[in-house]
Symmetry: C2
Subunit: 118 residues, 2 copies
Amino acid sequence: MAPFERHLFVCTNQRPAGHPRGCCDPDGGGTLHKAFKKALAEHGLSRRMRANKSGCLDQCEHGPNVVVYPDGVWYGGVTEADVNEIVERHLIGGEPVERLRLAHGCINTATCPHRPRS
Amino acid sequence: MAPFERHLFVCTNQRPAGHPRGCCDPDGGGTLHKAFKKALAEHGLSRRMRANKSGCLDQCEHGPNVVVYPDGVWYGGVTEADVNEIVERHLIGGEPVERLRLAHGCINTATCPHRPRS
């Protein structure tokens, strides 16, 4: 087998309640990661693609965050209700789900307008 | 800022001692991840690149494992002594460190000869 055709990293970082940046997995259950794993299995993709837990992806204001490589497509505000659309439209169909994508002006940007000022 | 120019995922998964597949961070200290973070900072790369913790990358027999995206370059058996070479030669110089790369016949391969038979 080759390396994964698509490799998703689902942020499962936790911070204390009330943290100004929030966090992607406030209840610590890894629910979104599990939903992606299940969807990949149901679509018969588990050998070709992988949904990984990741530590903090540092885009917390936009969470829950998911990044898909090698595409380099970042999603924010992802919920379990979005999982099948991402799998079917993007991972299988090759077309990112535009409504969920993070703007380039937000990713990895200290001056992102959504980021709390320290 | 654009998305990270290079995004490293350093496996910090733990398994019980004696597990047949081993694990990438047996002492749970995340030492390798910390070493990459420190090296990126020392090279002034922290805004352009990120070293992330990841959950199990499923190449346990070859660990400690690191995958670099968007390149899709997989490394195995990485130690703290290798960190500066990966940062300087690959992340800055663009040339993967061949001696540490996982073979394509091992990545994501149930029949990898290094994998314990279940």
